[in-house]
Amino acid sequence: MVGFLVRRLLSTVLVLIGVSILVFLIMQLVPGDPVRSMLGQAATAERVTEVRHQLGLDRPLIVQYLDWILGVLHGDLGQSLTLSQPVSSILFPKLGNTMILAGGSLLICLVIGVPLGMVAARRQYSVVDRGSMFVALGGASVPVYWAGLVIINIFALKLGWFPTSGMYDTRNPGGFEDVLVHLVLPSVAAAVVPTAVVARMARGSMVEALHADHVQMLRASGVPERLVIWKHTLRNILPPVVNIVGLQAGYLLGGVIFVEVVFNWPGLGGQLYTSITAGDMPMIQAGVLFIALVFVVVNLVTDVAVALLDPRTRKEA
């Protein structure tokens, strides 16, 4: 177990370094010039060069990169070029917000996706099955920026149940409850795709589990269907489900960008999008690094959990 963890963490570090290099290289190619976009229409060439120099953007790439990576190793993520703020002071809150959103969506996709998949599997090829799978699939096949607006229109405008967008009330921002009310619609919108994936996945493994020999043995021993399903089979599909849910958690971190835009949720995705278009190197670097880190950690946790969940692999893990 320990060796396994050590190996994984080591590879994580390598991956992260790789990511930072990859991002750095890609971003060199983005047309956006942070200084230009900072100084706006009236910028003159001479001023631009002056600012570039002040920001050290006129140094050779490798120097810029090493300088940045050294900073990171000292816990300094650097300054945002366009917002002239410490990257951490902007990214940490946004990462938090994205995690809240992702968490909400994950909850939904667990509570709905797994049972949906199981029910579908119980009545394989039935109307229920086809129907629910079609719904799940349909959800994943709609452009979020369109569906999101429809959701807003119905639940925020027509019914007035939830706020249209944002994270806090505008006039008197509240605490947890306030966030919760604002969280509902975006997390539903963000949950659609993962729920679909999880439901289909759950259905798949459920079908498999139901055809397992031991299920027949249980039935032959007079174990009631209720127990067969909700005790034995559920336990059997737990590892694959946990696994897929873990993957979705990773996806949600970067995949909710459209939801963030439509519901004006101040998350990492939206921030990174603007930073990318503005070529704001330090922001993108740090942001992607965060996501990558969380991503890798989530995967690690998932793998360990799966390993622990299955008695057959528990020892090896």
Binding site: L14, R130, A140, S141, P143, Y145, N153, G250, G255
Partner: protein, 301 residues
Amino acid sequence: MTTATLTQPAATAWRRRSQFRLATRALARDKVAVGALVVLTLVVLVAIFAPLISPYDPLVGDPTIRLLPPGTPGHLLGLDGQGRDILSRLIWGGRYSLSVAIVPVLCAGVVALVLGMVAGYFGGRWGELVMRVLDVVFAFPIVLFAIAIAAVLGPGLVNSMLAIGITLVPYMARVVYTATVQESGKDYVEAARAAGLTEVEILGKQLLPNVLSPLVVYATTLAGLVIVLAAGLSFLGVGITPPAPDWGVMTSDGRQVLLEGYAHVATIPGLMIFIVAIAFNLLGDGIRDALDPHKQTGSRN
């Protein structure tokens, strides 16, 4: 014993051919998959014959009459915010939306096939290297990756296809890699080697067909996701650019009037995306089931 194994390659070849026949037959029996296939073929045909079918110019309308509802005489699906005939744009739009869904998947598929098979079959240092590089990409959320690449290349049809293609390679390569590793463990490969086939022959004649089937399944499903992703890129302005009648573009500019009672402008193309995406997915499922020997014979065991 040896006599048995020597005939193995031939045997697998036969098994494969019959498998293929079985698969196609199973697919033909799957009503849903067939339906999906029909829908897709239809859309493709419409796109191909757009110049003949389309009642109006998709790019130039009469801006003095805007946002007419569906059912307007002469404009079956109404007019968009620029006074352009939505039906005509829908018809032409197939060309953009389909190519942006299919072309990248195909190209990425080929690249992935080479990468994945080489990495999976020869393994060793090269395999490791390739897979580690892919790991790096996986740590990068797919949407953001696509956006970044799109931002680098700039907007436009070709560029968005390129961006999406590049984004897909690692994901498809992983599928190929796993399949290759599994297959190359099987004894028919051993047998082929024993029978003195060259590596290239083994890769091409023995592995390829077996690796192909999971890839095909994955690719078909991907196409469904890609068409939605591409629409998203257009929405952010890093994808296909107006006035191109791409469905994604149409949906995103229709958004602006969605709350003002002109829902059809965004909804109709959105529906098209929805239908095509689902069709791809269902077809993918169909192919998967068809290739699954358990299900070919209908009832189990």
